[in-house]
């Protein structure tokens, strides 16, 4: 049953369109519908994982290039599982949150469709398929970004589109050049270039740079990052999705694919592609953290934080050794979980009190203790304080940097961790320890649909930190195959 690989991709499309067309009499029914869609999708994934790996399906094969080809491998499984699990939480959260924003029908249609597209990215078997879903992702998330449809939202949405399409164009450019060399774009461990491509190093370097920057646009690599903070105008579940799960991580995932499945680490080493990229990556890390310090809006601060954290993951990718890639992939997961929690918390604050700025949330820890606790734990984790999960990934990243004999990388990591502390701790301190007299002591923790995902995710944050071995061993297997 190779066709079953299509289920998790197509199912959300159907459900999304169905959900848009059906007119639910009661909200409850719609919610059930949504829940069942995402849960069933997760089940599909579990189902196909339980079948023998690797699963291959040429959906439409027109020629070596125009080939819609799906393939199940461990990396894809990792990403798919991450996304679909987090999607369930996001669904629960946004059902409660979107009451507040309106136009839910449109929202949820695109929301569910985006899940399918992200699954498509996860299971793409070649660059072309990946590219198609990558473009679709832009299109499907665009209505989500501009959901509020205010002028600012439209402006940000346009920015998002321009950047994304610009990036995709670069990818296309790289893809064309690459295809002219290899005549093959399938993902294969250790790359498809082999010994053939090495004759033309400069061209290969150019292709790699172009593709890296192209996909890097979605992964918010500096200087192509400014869509990300701008996209903050979106409703919080969307920001969480954009930042933590779907969009940026798709960019990262694609970069892993390009680096290790198309080029292969040996080739990149040979062409010195990683050297140039790592400069950009370092700037990304530092810039994100420095500028986060200047943001007063919580979500914006988190957005810049995302930039720097994505830089970590990118660093893990470009260092080209096992440890760093382990760190990178682990941070992919960890950052996803942490950032989604942080965003959910920020969203809850906004949802309950309409407060967005940091100086407005004084002593909010009194009113929203659970939310703020979860926020604090995730924030501490993001800084990389043991025993939370981000520490583990940063550990591997630093070791990866060291085994390249470059002390600069761990130093950058730590500097950025310090800055992370500098921009996250004030939020916590303000929320808990800045007392405002005569505060009302109402409990403002958000409704259960929103609170439960936050709490569970926080537990995951801590548990992943305490017992990383489950995920770690899986990632090690992946990495072992591809580096």
């Amino acid at each position: 049953m190779e066709i079953s690989i299509l289920f998790p991709i197509i199912f959300p499309f159907i459900m999304g369109i169905l959900g848009f067309c059906l007119k639910f009499k009661r909200e409850k029914n719609r919610n059930k519908f949504l829940y069942s869609s995402v849960v069933i999708n997760l089940l599909f994934i579990v189902y196909i994982i339980r079948m023998d790996l690797p699963l291959k399906l040429h959906l439409i094969k027109i020629n070596t290039f125009l080939d819609i080809y799906f393939r199940l491998d461990k990396l894809g499984v990792l990403f798919a599982l991450l996304v679909s699990i987090l999607w369930i939480f996001t669904t629960a959260y946004s059902i409660a949150y979107m009451n507040h924003e309106g136009k839910e029908r449109q929202f949820f249609a695109f929301f569910i469709i985006t899940l399918g597209i992200t699954m498509g990215i996860a299971f793409s078997g070649n660059l072309f398929t990946l590219y198609i879903f990558y473009e679709l992702l832009t299109l499907a998330t665009f209505p989500l970004v501009i959901h509020t449809q205010s002028k600012e939202a439209l402006y940000s949405g346009k920015k998002y589109l321009i950047y994304s399409f610009g990036g995709a164009t670069l990818v296309l450019f790289g893809m064309i050049l690459l295809f002219s060399i290899t005549n093959n774009l399938s993902f294969i461990e250790h790359g498809i270039l082999g010994a053939t491509g090495l004759s033309n190093k400069n061209l290969l370097l150019m292709i790699y740079m172009v593709m890296f920057i192209g996909f890097g646009v979605k992964a918010a690599i500096v200087p192509f990052h400014s869509w990300l903070p701008a996209a903050m105008v979106a409703p919080t579940p969307v920001s969480a999705l954009l930042h933590a799960v779907a969009v940026v991580k798709s960019g990262i995932f694609s970069l892993v694919r390009v680096t290790y499945f198309i080029f292969g680490s040996e080739v990149i080493r040979e062409i010195h592609g990683n050297v140039y990229i790592s400069v950009l990556v370092i700037i990304t890390i530092l810039l994100g953290s420095f500028l986060a310090l200047h943001q007063e809006n919580i979500k914006k601060r988190l957005a810049y934080s995302t930039i720097s954290q994505l830089g970590y993951i990118l660093l893990g990718i470009v260092l080209l050794n096992e440890e760093s890639l382990i760190g990178g992939l682990l941070h992919l997961i960890n950052h996803a979980v942490i950032k989604i929690t942080l965003f959910f918390c920020a969203g809850s604050i906004y949802f309950m009190t309409q407060k967005k700025e940091i100086n407005e949330i004084e002593a909010i820890g009194k009113n929203m203790p659970i939310t703020m606790w979860c926020f604090s734990i995730s924030a501490i984790s993001l800084i990389g304080i043991p025993p939370t999960n981000a520490f583990v990934s940063k550990w591997y990243l630093a070791l990866g940097g060291l085994s390249e004999n470059k002390v600069i990388f761990p130093v950058i990591l730590l500097l950025s961790a310090f800055l992370t502390a500098a921009y996250l701790m004030p939020i916590i301190v303000t929320a808990f320890f800045h007392t405002e007299e005569n505060k009302d002591t109402r409990n403002l923790d958000p409704p259960l649909e929103m609170l439960v995902p936050i709490v569970i995710l926080t537990c995951i944050v801590v548990l992943l930190g305490l017992f990383p071995n489950i995920v770690l061993s899986f990632i090690k297997e992946i990495v072992h195959e591809i580096v």
């Binding site: 500096v222 200087p223 192509f224 990052h225 400014s226 700037i283 530092l286 810039l287 420095f290 500028l291 310090l293 200047h294 501490i380 800084i383 990389g384 304080i385 043991p386 025993p387 520490f391 583990v392 550990w395 630093a398 070791l399 060291l402 085994s403 002390v407 761990p410 130093v411 730590l414 500097l415 961790a417 310090f418 502390a421 500098a422 701790m425 301190v429 320890f433 800045h434 007392t435 930190g465 305490l466 017992f467 990383p468 071995n469 770690l472």
Partner: protein
């Protein structure tokens, strides 16, 4: 098995206590207080019961999978000292807190974090793996932060951010060291490390420097001590006591582990630690002398005492085969300092509890008639200045002996200087404590006669009494702890067992001389230069306020400059892509908006005819036809697409193509 469970339980019990206490505390404060005392007491009991076992062999425990590499715990005699004193002090402080905190808010939070800090501190001392150690170290930093800023006023928050900044920064430096260590050694297990790093060469100095910096911030090594004088006065007294008595020791513990366990008492490292020790000792003492806030004096005193311990650590490395004495001195001082410093803080705390004031200018004469308080405080004083018969004397004497041994061994001029600094610092200790004692407990101030008595409850005095007894007991029987310390020194590779002979004539003489010198300093310097009489009141001055402040004058400016410079750069980069687009857009716009002057003479005859006035005619001649480039372009384009010009274009294109084709035609090769 039972021992392992016990080992785990002393790690877990406080954490359970934290959670349970929080839950209970929402219902009833009294039960919570009792519960907390019970938990700490139980932990203390377990630890004490483990003593026998530990003396025979270390207890080890390994739980796999936690944090990826597993949780590896070990309790040997060396660690036992730290663990026991920690829990002991905690137990007393918990008891003390129940009294002290009565009028504070957020008590529930305080107790939770108090217990969590205990859990993590114990964890630090038990960790057998650098990574576990680091983990607990970081947790401790965060939980103790909440203890420091408990007051939540501006001062506390500032102190808190100072502390947190230092803690996180230092933690990261430490982490960097660990990265390198792991990269070179491939393991972080403390027992395996010495073998693993034997041949890594000089990089080990970098590694140790990083790790020691990390731990040094907690141990308040100069110049990383800046958080200390701020945090102590800000925190509630039990917290300050803990900070001073125990948390500094976590740093010390880390340094001992690094220098002696991991790096095997490397000579260079030990020497540098020694130097830092002396700087700390002297600088701390001197700064303490200047201060007016009791808690700040005590904080600087802790810094100075940490210097003593560091000196001891350094000497262990320098003395090589004769290191036993230095080890005894170090461990003993760690133990003693914890006890008497906590005692002193508790005393200060009681004053604060009553008056909410800590400046000796204001509380001057408060303790004149508070006999019990006075006695207890005095015991602490005697202990810290090293008065024979009190525990401080024991360790200081041992330390001094170790120092003389080293001087004897190396015959260097430096050790003469060291000796002078040592004596001077000890004298400083005497002087600043006298400063507190005399102004608070000796001088008269009618303002405070016979009131406030009811505040001092037994629950607060009881822990102090216990500590006082401990001070005297150890002072009188210096060998009381010797079994433990001998055992502990095995960890350092010392196996000969010798008993201590602290009370010799020489040592007492030295001690007395030091005290006398201290009194001289007090009279000759403190009372003469620091005490000014303003409006008939005696006020102590603090000249150090005008001195260079490391934090204010060095750290902050450097950080601020770095920060603003990099922020500017990054802001620029941040906007680069967007701005360049805007810039190009603007450029095009301004280019298209460029005004082009067309000085056309319009030969409009009709108008000329009508013009009669000459002036008018002149005006008319000066009409300058200006239009913007964009208008011209639009017009041009409009013309281009008109039929006229279309034909022109056609002709031009045809001509160009013809020329190009004919000229560039390549003969077939």
């Amino acid at each position: 098995m039972i021992y392992r469970t016990a080992l785990l339980s002393i790690l877990i019990l406080p954490n359970i206590g934290a959670v349970m206490g929080f839950i209970i505390g929402r219902k009833s404060e009294k039960i919570r207080d009792a519960f907390n005392i019970f938990i700490t007491g139980a932990t203390l009991l377990i630890v004490t019961l483990l003593f026998k076992k530990v003396m025979i062999e270390p207890i080890k425990l390994f739980i796999p999978d936690i944090m990826g590499i597993g949780l590896s715990l070990k309790l040997d005699a060396f660690r036992y000292i730290f663990v026991w004193v920690t829990i002991f002090v905690w137990f007393l402080c918990t008891m003390y807190s129940t009294q002290y905190l009565i009028r504070y808010k957020n008590r529930n939070r305080y107790y939770s974090f108090f217990m969590l800090t205990l859990g993590s501190t114990v964890g630090i001392f038990l960790s057998q793996n650098m990574l576990n150690l680091f983990t607990f170290f970081e947790i401790m930093s965060f939980t103790s932060y909440i203890l420091i800023i408990h007051d939540q006023d501006q001062y506390a928050l500032d102190a808190g951010s100072s502390y947190l900044g230092m803690a996180i920064g230092a933690g990261l430096v430490l982490l960097m060291g660990l990265f390198l260590l792991f990269d070179y050694a491939g393991t972080l297990d403390i027992e395996e490390l010495p073998n693993a790093i034997k041949y890594i060469g000089n990089i080990k100095y970098l590694i140790s420097a990083l790790i020691i910096t990390g731990f040094g911030a907690k141990a308040s090594i100069f110049p990383l001590h800046v958080w200390l004088p701020k945090a102590h006065p800000a925190a509630p007294t039990p917290s300050s006591a803990i900070l001073s008595g125990i948390l500094i020791k976590t740093g010390i513990f880390g340094i001992i582990i690094t220098v002696h366990m991991v790096m095997e008492s490397d000579y260079i490292l030990s020497a540098s630690i020694l130097v830092f020790g002396f700087i700390n000792m002297f600088f701390g003492g001197m700064m303490a002398l200047m201060q007016r806030n009791i808690k700040r004096i005590l904080a600087y005193s802790s810094m100075s005492q940490a210097g003593y311990i560091l000196v001891g650590i350094g000497l262990i490395g320098l003395l090589k085969e004769h290191k036993a004495i230095a080890i005894y001195a170090t461990l003993y001082h760690i133990f003693n300092h914890a006890i008497f410093k906590v005692l002193l803080f508790m005393g200060a705390g009681i004053i604060y509890m009553i008056l909410h004031e800590l400046s000796i200018n204001k509380i001057c004469g408060f303790g004149k008639h508070k006999t019990r308080l006075k006695i207890v405080f005095f015991i602490g004083l005697l202990a810290i200045i090293g008065m024979p018969g009190f525990n401080g004397f024991v360790s200081k004497t041992l330390l001094h002996e170790a120092l003389s041994e080293a001087a004897h061994m190396y015959h260097s001029i430096w050790f003469v200087i060291a000796e002078i600094i040592f004596t001077l610092s000890s004298a400083f200790t005497v002087a600043y404590l006298l400063k507190i004692f005399i102004s608070v407990f000796v001088e008269e101030n009618e303002k405070y006669t016979g009131q406030y008595k009811e505040y001092i409850k037994k629950r607060a005095l009881f822990p102090m009494t216990i500590l006082g007894i401990a001070v005297i007991y150890i002072g009188l029987y210096p060998n009381a702890l010797m079994e433990l310390i001998f055992n502990a020194s095995k960890t350092f590779g010392v196996h000969e067992v010798s008993s201590l002979h602290v009370y010799s004539v020489d040592s007492i003489k030295t001690s007395i001389m030091t005290i006398v010198l201290g009194i001289v300093i007090y009279i000759g310097f403190v009372r003469k230069y620091l005490l000014k009489i303003v409006d008939g009141k005696k006020l102590y001055m603090n000249p150090s306020l005008t001195w260079i402040n490391i934090e204010r004058d060095i750290y902050w400016p450097v950080m601020r400059i770095t920060f603003s410079v990099s922020s500017t750069i990054f802001h620029w980069i941040d906007r680069a892509a967007v701005n360049s687009v805007h810039c190009i857009g603007k450029g095009i716009r301004s280019l298209s908006g460029m005004q082009i002057k067309l000085n056309k003479k319009r030969e409009n005859k009709i108008e000329l005819k009508n013009v009669v006035d000459k002036r008018n005619m002149l005006d008319w001649k000066e009409i300058v036809d200006t239009r913007s480039l964009s208008n011209i372009m639009v017009k041009m384009y409009g013309n281009m697409s008109s039929l006229m010009y279309a034909v022109f274009i056609f002709a031009a294109v045809f001509a160009v193509i013809l020329v190009v084709v004919v000229v560039f035609h390549m003969p077939k090769s």
